[in-house]
Symmetry: C2
Subunit: 239 residues, 2 copies
């Protein structure tokens, strides 16, 4: 897998990357269309697309389906251990944060959830699906499950902000321990659609389980992030 430095698509990649780095194309701006990028100079559209895929994998550009290719804004720095503040985090970085609640339902505890919460199958749970955006671009979708016994009537509270704050102020539930699992993944059917990206694009799957001081699971959160939208930063004291 040596790079002979003569591959056509890498040359095209470099040409576009240079225009972006030079400021000719700014974050959020649309690139010329694939057919315009061919310029008539004997370059097949497939080669142009290969270069665009490369830039996309590097997080330099992104696409909106059938709309065009755009220059990526800088990623958001995110510390999963300080989960109380997606909104304030993003805004502290000078960006505009939005949260949409896609759905909120009461569900019966599934066999998959039962061992996590230590509750019987069928026990009432709340499930909340939210989409969060930065500067108008959807960057993550998440599904949160909360034990209804711990937070009765949770769904009547405002859910477009910090859920942890709601749990603390309305139910006096404080999170004492946090388990975070992260794995690079491909965004498939459901998540890809919610994030308006093509199925199969790389993403990051973050699963967060929050416990209170008694060791009860108070929040189970599965997040799917666009791969180019975030930078994870964790600061840890050694045990």
């Amino acid at each position: 897998m040596t790079q002979p430095d003569s591959l056509h698509y890498l040359g095209v990649r470099d040409a576009i990357a240079t225009r972006i780095a030079g400021g000719e194309l700014k974050p959020g701006e649309r690139l010329p269309s694939e057919r315009q990028l061919q310029v008539g100079g004997g370059v097949a559209r497939g080669t142009i697309r290969e270069a665009l895929f490369q830039l996309e994998a590097e997080g330099i550009i992104y696409r909106k389906d059938r709309s065009g290719w755009y220059v990526s804004p800088p990623p958001v720095v995110y510390d999963p251990t300080r989960w109380e503040g997606f909104m304030s985090y993003v805004e502290a970085q000078g960006r505009r944060a939005e949260t949409e609640t896609l759905s909120k339902t009461e569900i019966a505890c599934t066999p998959a959830l039962a061992p996590i919460f230590g509750r019987p199958v069928g026990a009432p749970m709340y499930r909340i699906r939210r989409r969060r955006s930065v500067d108008g671009r959807a960057v993550l979708v998440e599904t949160i499950v909360v034990d209804a016994a711990l937070a009765p009537d949770l769904l009547s509270h405002p859910l477009d902000g910090s859920l942890t704050s709601v749990l603390k102020s309305a139910y006096n539930i404080a999170v004492a321990r946090n388990r975070v699992d992260m794995q690079p993944c491909a965004l498939t059917r459901g998540e890809a659609e919610a994030l308006q990206v093509k199925s199969g694009l790389p993403g990051l799957n973050v699963v967060r389980t929050s416990y209170d001081a008694q060791g009860r699971v108070v929040e189970f959160d599965r997040e799917y992030w666009r791969h180019d939208a975030l930078k994870i930063s964790v600061d840890i004291r050694v045990r």
Copy 2:
């Protein structure tokens, strides 16, 4: 970006995924060649490749350049906060771990490293490049920088194991705090070649800065992981 369930390449993807899930193709086994997968049934090779790329992004298969496509083994679970034990971690999961030292050199502190270590530009540093493999497949390359003033003659110690153990036993340097930055990225020229993957494939960039009790940086480590080789798991107590 809806999925009409009638896309040809997704059908091919599902067919191959089924054969893998059904156990017909086992982890580590080679898939039939792209031309064999066409079976003569009016499917262009480009469509077959599109399906293979999809499976690759999902971490189900991987490729070796011009050798073929292979079924991915399960990922390694890795806790970056317990960095002392890559080898023991991997072996505790029943896998075979290897570490190769690609290079070890004494360098002069660069302008980029100076503020990290709080040392003047030109101060002596050690730089170690290693490649680590699981079951014979390279999964990460890392570049470690250590202040030579803290660990004189470090390079004469064995470096194919745990560096943190060496620092502790030979120099009595204990790590007290750890900062971990992670960002999905594309594996480009250098790292891609070391990992024997195609440039542009998604990966995970992990930057780890280790401090001792006095706040001095004792280790600065930049790791590039194959995206499908690991699952990150962090357990955190709330501050």
